[in-house]
């Protein structure tokens, strides 16, 4: 029998504070319920001795102060992960007055197994069947009253995201009366009951959890529970341990499976006439789409369709084509630049200053034109596309889709987060690689970001540029994909290690909300633009300095043989020098060269591939240094530069030899 310890805290002014703990699987709406119960004032702290965060807040129900504890997600009281261990520690050590078990109504059958464990442990449980709105939408019906009778605990139906059921939950917390006589006992098979009785009968100390629950945990070889029982039983422990060993030997490894099957059977009986699913389950469009997105056979074609319409048609053709033509071609080149040049030349008598403001590399005629005329429309269309996809819930499905492929290159599906972010900005994405599980995974992701993931602006310009030359975009795309896989495979070979684990619960796919997409696009664009504008101006000043001192000309002359060796005109060196400041600045430079008719399709493709692979911009290099250290960052920088040149060289020879794109 579990001890019913009085755990009410007495704080200043002798106010008794009771505790309520929220437990349940991840993604069942615990945090939403926590926020609804507590309001704004909460404290987040690491659970002692762990890196797991636990959130606590306070609320008053019927003049009673309650501390609400949002525990980390757990699937069972037989713990596996650190999060689960912390959640159980809270139940064991903080002995809450009420345990709110929150579960997802759509997965009632799967999640009720934990409710049974909590009741079996004689904890003061209130069951919250959450996400009822979604369950009802797909035609599920749950008789909550009958379920409550069968479980012997209060059961509340809720949809916390819609504030449904919150008042009932508050009432259930305040009205909860621990009645151990009323607690239900779920019977297992005769054999298992015999084992439980034998082990439980040997324990004599007082515990927070019932001896029946402890016996089951001991039989599951739970080390922490073994240590707890050893400490509590003292001299009697060897007898308990011997009995557990004896049963474990008899049952061998089948115990876990047997227990799980028996619990399933109990749940099956429990939900009979409680849970009604329509004969033909209503499969919603979002579920159908979700299945299509994660299965390789359908997911890959879907990804290609998304990329074709989203990136190629919308960002490439519309953003980098139509909108840039209007903004850069018409507005800047035909109207604004001639006007501002005239104004500046009229106002400023010194040619050198005129050159700085409105010259070939002038702050306005180059820096601002690039930023506003070329980069802004491309980034805007890219962020609209990105925010739209993000709001549909497609990204986690993409992570699952590529997980298997990523494992071969030493990463897991989790690495999709920095890779996807890399298409926005590689610098930020490099910083996000710190969230990956292993050092090996972090280094490989950093390398691939530096090498083969073009940022949004660069990608947009390249898509816009290459879509004008038939076949060029295909060659560029195939090159980038092959090099991404090749370098990943090589890196995974050079840095051997265990493939990282990755699993995540998929949030539902949803119809993107116009206001969400708009807000996210606006926010991203605002900060992106504020970040690039000063850098573009600084780059223009440096280029102007290079020009007036003659250094820039010398640099271009020095780079001419290198450019020639990969079949590019010497003017391309300018784009590469731009690219070192920022990748998107370099891509805009290529755009300029192409519009002046200086490159054919082959040269354009070679330049695009080389520039995409080329050394990351200064900011990304600095972040690489911060995240991975000087040595790794320098090694990646050197490798990327040589690899970019080598790939350009081979591609140029290949295109010349085959006559492709001629």
């Amino acid at each position: 029998m579990a001890t019913s310890s009085s755990n009410t805290e007495t704080s200043k002014g002798s106010v008794e504070v009771k505790r309520v703990a929220l437990v349940g699987n991840p993604n069942v709406g615990k945090s939403v319920l926590f926020n609804a119960l507590t309001g704004a004032y909460v404290t987040v702290s690491n659970y002692p001795g762990t890196s797991v965060e636990v959130t606590r807040g306070n609320t008053t129900i019927e003049q009673q102060e309650w501390q609400v504890i949002d525990t980390p997600g757990m699937y069972s009281i037989h713990t596996i992960t650190e999060e689960e261990r912390v959640a159980r520690e809270i139940l064991l050590k903080e002995t809450p007055d009420v345990v709110l078990h929150v579960l997802d109504a759509r997965n009632l059958e799967r999640m009720l197994a934990m409710t049974i464990q909590l009741i079996e442990a004689e904890l003061p449980v209130v069951l919250v069947v959450n996400i009822m709105d979604e369950a009802e939408r797909i035609g599920l019906k749950i008789d909550l009253e009958l379920l409550s009778q069968r479980l012997g605990i209060p059961v509340i139906g809720a949809a916390t995201a819609r504030k449904r059921g919150i008042e009932e939950i508050r009432l259930a917390i305040s009205d909860y009366r621990c009645d151990s006589n009323n607690s239900k006992r779920f019977a297992y098979s005769r054999l298992l009951e015999h084992d439980i009785t034998e082990v439980a009968g040997l324990m004599q100390a007082d515990y927070v959890l019932s001896r029946r629950a402890l016996a089951l945990l001991l039989l599951q070889q739970d080390e922490e529970i073994s240590a707890l029982v050893q400490q509590s039983e003292g001299d009697r422990y060897p007898i308990v341990a011997e009995k557990v060993r004896e049963i474990a030997f008899k049952r061998r490894e089948s115990f876990h499976l047997d227990l799980s099957m028996e619990r399933k059977e109990i749940v099956r009986k429990l939900i009979k006439q409680v849970f009604f699913a329509p004969e033909k389950r209503v499969v919603t469009l979002s579920e159908r789409l979700s299945t299509i997105a994660v299965r390789p056979l359908t997911g890959v074609p879907l990804l290609l369709i998304v990329l074709y319409f989203g990136l190629y048609k919308f960002v490439g053709e519309f953003g980098a084509g139509t909108v840039v033509d209007v903004l850069e071609g018409k507005l800047f080149e035909e109207l604004f630049n001639p006007w501002i040049t005239g104004v500046v030349k009229g106002l400023v008598p010194w040619e050198i200053i005129q050159e700085l403001i409105v010259g070939e590399y002038g702050i306005i005629t180059l820096g601002i034109r690039y930023a506003v005329g070329i980069i802004l429309p491309i980034v805007a269309t890219f962020f609209i596309f990105f925010s739209f996809l993000e709001d549909t819930g497609y990204f986690p499905r993409l992570a699952l889709l590529v997980d298997r492929m990523f494992k071969h290159i030493g990463m897991s599906g989790r690495a999709v987060i920095p890779m996807v972010l890399g298409f926005g900005c590689d610098t930020m994405a490099t910083m996000v690689t710190r969230t990956l599980e292993t050092t090996r995974e972090r280094v490989i992701a950093t390398l691939l970001l530096a090498l083969a993931i073009p940022c949004s602006a660069q990608l947009g310009v390249i898509l816009g540029l290459l879509s004008m030359a038939p076949g060029a975009l295909l060659v560029w795309g195939v090159c980038m994909l092959l090099l991404f896989i090749l370098v990943g495979l090589l890196a995974a070979q050079v840095m051997p290690g265990e493939p990282p684990m990755f699993y995540m619960e998929l949030p539902p796919m949803r119809m993107p909300q116009f206001t969400n997409v708009l807000t996210k696009t606006y926010t991203r664009m605002q900060w992106y633009f504020m970040e690039i504008l000063p850098l573009f101006i600084i780059a223009s000043v440096l280029l102007w300095l290079g020009k007036v001192t003659g250094f820039f000309e010398k640099l271009i002359t020095a780079m001419t043989p290198v450019m020639a060796s990969i079949g590019l005109p010497k003017e391309t060196a300018v784009a590469f020098i731009f690219g070192f400041f920022r990748r998107d600045y370099g891509a805009a430079g290529l755009y300029d060269l192409q519009s002046k008719g200086l490159m054919d399709a082959r040269q354009l493709t070679v330049a695009a591939v080389t520039l995409t692979l080329f050394i990351p911009c200064v900011a990304q290099f600095l972040v690489m240094k911060n995240e991975r250290g000087w040595l790794t960052a320098s090694a990646i920088g050197i490798f990327v530069s040589l690899f970019a040149y080598g790939s350009g060289f081979v591609l140029n020879k290949f295109l010349l030899l085959t006559g492709l794109l001629a």
Binding site: S31, A40, D391, F395, I417, L421, V432, P507, T523, E531
Partner: protein, 61 residues
């Protein structure tokens, strides 16, 4: 706010802010569960939304 990647719903204050990565100040909040970088709502958008909420309340009254 709801994380754009894993769908985890969290309070803006629970997310990880100020990692120092963004030049020009912090304008993102990383999801406490998957660390995805979610953009913070700009003050302008917040005030517009507040305006609408106030109007809604006003209408109901």
């Amino acid at each position: 706010m709801i994380c754009g990647f894993c769908g985890h719903e969290f309070d803006e204050n629970d997310g990880i802010k100020g990692c120092g990565g963004c030049s020009g100040g912090c304008h993102n909040v990383h999801c406490p569960r998957c660390n995805y970088k979610n953009p913070l709502e700009p003050a302008l958008v917040k005030s517009i939304k507040k305006l609408f909420i106030k109007n809604d309340k006003g209408d109901k009254l």
